[in-house]
Amino acid sequence: MAEFLFEIGLEEVPARMIAGAEAELLRRVLALLGRERLLPESFDPLAGAKSYSTPRRLAVAVSGVRERQAAVSEEVTGPAVKIAYKDGVATPAAEAFARKAGVAVADLKTVQTPKGEYLAATTVKTGRAAAEVIAAEMPKELAAIYWAKTMYWLSPTGQGTSGGDPVRVGKPERFVRPVLWMACLLGETVVPVAFGGRVAGRATFGHRVLSSGDAFDVVSPESYAAQLQGEFVLPDVEARRHRIRKALDRAMREVPGARWREDHALVDAVTHLTEWPEVLLGGFEADFLQLPEEVLVTVMRDHQKYFAVENASGKLMPHFLTVVNIALNERNAAIIRQGNERVLRARFNDARFFWEFDQRVALADRVKLLDNVTFQKDLGSYAAKSERVRALAAALAGQIGGFVDLGALDEAARLAKTDLTTELVKEFTELQGVIGGLYAAAQGVSAVAAEAIYDQYVPAGMDGGVPRSVEGALLGIADRADTIAGMFGLGMEPTGSKDPFALRRSANGIVKILADTGVGLTLEPVIRLASKSEATGIKMTAFFRERLEFYLREVKGQAYDVVAAVMVTNFGDVRDAIARAEAISGVRGSQDFVAVCTAFKRMNNILTQASERSYRIAAQVQYGELQEGAEVALSQQLELRATEIENLASGLDYAGAVLEIARFGPLLTRFFEDVMVNVEDEDLRAKRLGLIAKILAEFSRIADFSQIVTAG
């Protein structure tokens, strides 16, 4: 058994890709070692394997790797006995087989096969050396790692050597960035993995600037992390993340009452941008705090990767924190702080210039500018879109019960896209909508309208909030539904992995708004009012159905079969579908409910058969007309409890209703044990079929329970 280490050194890997690649490399190395019988039977990946990554390297360490594949014994069949022996003497055929199998002729056995008696031999395949296997297999695993974008750096065909510098030779793989080195050790032995024009050795490199810059040898896999730390590289991601958080906290002690604004995504980003992270506090002129916080935070966070600093009540303070990839001392801290502060000042100055410049033309006066901003070439300008959204938002408002400020909604729809003509949005495209809302508020547009404009793109994904007001929700729905309907009308619906207009995200947004706000709208009127033709409406219905299924599964964590069961009926009411799915998930473990589901499958099958055979099904069934105790009891209970179940369901107490339905489990089980439905007596059969049909009809308003997967 030996410790194994593989490290690949790269020119800086994009931060967003590192975590996925680190996990994939670990997975691939373990799969390779497992497949090649190089791991012990009892291998525990949590204890025995560890992965590392920094911007410049990915690494995997595995302990307890076999130095040689376990031997495998195998029985091979040779020639037929009657050919192998002549008069009890081995023929050349037998000798050849024995030689091939690596055993003596005397050790050959005979086996009985359907074709007669044959020679056989037990061969022991000795395993190959681990180093040999890994050197052969590892390059394939490396080449298979998924990257969002890859590149060539070596000549793709190895050409271009005439005159000038020689082109680097080597098999040109595509990879995320050029490979600088590889280290691969099994115990203390080098495994010469070849990839990306390099061959793995023992050497690695430390921090680009803080280490001496020279390669140094990894003594053994166990010493890898500690040796790197000595060269200013913390290869463990969690350790770096922890160090960054501590350093952010520590830096905040310099400013009384201040805290850094929590930002998991940013902590993640800077963790993957540094090998030796330290934190530096900087400041800016308090005057800039007059600019909208959204703009300041976007500059700091998205453009500069700085953490914003706030006071106890969450108000921004004129400080920022930057995570550097260098060891700080008094001298360089002053230089680096000053550099960062100058950059931030320049950016804030730009933002202030745009903020003031844009105010010279009010949003209301920008409406006409939208004529020149194309939304989509066949769907016209943003002016045309705004008009459609105004009409659609008003129509949607007419569909809901509660109070809607129609004037504010209309104004919001009219002005919603005008911020696309502002310099600030051209500079900070990620703030579209937000900036419109801020300008609207600053220009005396009603607070309701300004807030609706501000919230129009919320939610951007499945996380995060929804519009704060019903007007914002209606605007957000109308805007997205108009886009989806327009694109579907042009035949530009998403297919497979292609969704260039992010229509799925738009539809997800609508589903989430309907689910998380009390706007009281269902999908049906949204689709009907937005779609310009019946054909588009049908396509949109199928599309939204799939989006809601996605939402129920991925966001609400509902199982496939539960989702399938609730989608059978009235899926357009998003909140209702969620409530029904949750009710079913609540009881699905109970034995009674499983019995109901099993019975539903049988009942469906029986009714399908009946209709295939054109059996009559009685429309009305009185329990007095039935014979067996089980069917009479079932019919009685149905009459007794159907109304109660109906009342619970219409009172939206789906949990209660499903519990009631589950109580039918034992009755249904007994029914199928005792009663034969398809009897010769045509009249009795019709009654029994009628009973089944009635049960299905009564209970299927909540879900199609036959869709629920039951064990056995």
């Binding site: 000038g164 001298r331 901003v373």
Partner: protein, 324 residues
């Protein structure tokens, strides 16, 4: 920063000298700026055409880059109508090219341990040129100072070998070195005898003022459209003629070699600049924009393909072996 550090900082022209000397010492041909309006150093034929085809090259040049829409009449301390890029093309890139680049920062007075340097993902793309590459923006204490790209495609064609491109933003670096809050305060030169300084503003402010005014207020829209059409027509005619000439095996070798693909490229560049001026004048609606960009793309991609074909034909007509 202490004043002693300030005194040591390179002037703008010393910065250029130092970087040029640095790259010349590493095998680069020093070319002069291209004498035509371009929006970026990449558009100079010394990059755009030389990265095509198999022939290795190392070349460096300072390229004034005009972006009419970025003009601010000389009033914005951080934005320019015309800025200066130092463009380095390494085809193919040498071993550990990032380390070579970092050495160039040391050469201009940036002590690496005194700063925070990060290579952050930034992939370059010039759709009109059918060109893209992957790489980084190099961040120095929060300031982007260099764009570093491994070209992958140009003129819509896969590149082989790959070129490494290093583009230094000279104004930003000078601002950084000299700790200047405004570009116009950058010391451009210092008299060796008297110590008298000329600033960036002394040398260039009037250009920024006048060209901002020209781009935003004076440039004649009707004329610009006409220019664009004239350049386009001539370029298209040349492209057609070139294609025909190169396709014909009987074409005269000398005629093939002398065919002005580069002339066609200049016409395409002039179209691009006319477009930029029209854009700055606000004369191009968003709808038209896509169409005009597609027209220019046709020219530039057409030139690139013709260039590759011409180079191939030239190789074919070379004598087979060394002269006797």
């Amino acid at each position: 920063m202490s004043s002693t550090v300030l005194k040591k900082a390179l002037t703008f022209q010393e910065l250029l000298f130092t970087l040029q000397t640095f790259w010349a010492a590493r095998g680069c041909v020093l070319q002069q700026p291209y004498d035509l309006e371009v929006g970026a150093g990449t558009m100079s034929p010394d990059t755009f055409l030389r990265v095509l085809g198999p022939r290795p090259i190392r070349i460096a040049y300072a390229q004034p880059s005009r972006r009419p829409a970025d003009g601010r009449y000389g009033e914005n301390p951080n934005r320019l109508f015309r800025h200066t890029q130092l463009q380095v093309i390494l085809k193919p890139p040498p071993e550990r090219v990032q380390d070579v680049y970092l050495d160039s920062l040391v050469a201009i007075g940036i002590a690496l341990r005194e700063h925070d340097i990060k290579f952050e993902e930034d992939n370059w793309e010039w759709p009109v040129g059918g060109a893209w590459g992957v790489g980084w923006q190099v961040m120095l204490d929060g300031q982007e100072i260099t764009q570093f790209t491994y070209f992958q495609q140009c003129g819509g064609m896969d590149l082989d070998p790959i070129s490494g491109e290093i583009t230094y933003g000279l104004e930003r670096i000078a601002q950084f070195l000299q700790d200047a809050d405004s570009i116009y305060d950058i010391v451009w030169s210092r008299d060796a005898v008297t110590g008298a300084e000329l600033t960036y503003g002394d040398v260039r402010l009037h250009e920024e003022e006048q060209f901002s005014a020209y781009s935003f207020d004076y440039a004649d829209v009707a004329s610009l459209w006409k220019h664009l059409e004239l350049f386009e027509t001539e370029c298209l005619a040349l492209l057609a003629e070139g294609r025909e000439l190169f396709a014909d095996e009987a074409s005269d070798r000398l005629a093939v070699k002398r065919f002005p693909v580069m002339g066609a490229y200049e016409l395409a560049l002039k179209c691009s600049h006319s477009f930029n001026l029209l854009d700055a004048r606000g004369a191009i609606s968003v709808t038209e924009r896509v169409g005009v960009m597609a027209r220019i793309r046709t020219l530039i991609v057409g030139v690139a393909r013709l260039y590759v074909e011409q180079e191939r034909l030239k190789q074919l007509t070379l004598p087979a072996g060394p002269p006797a």
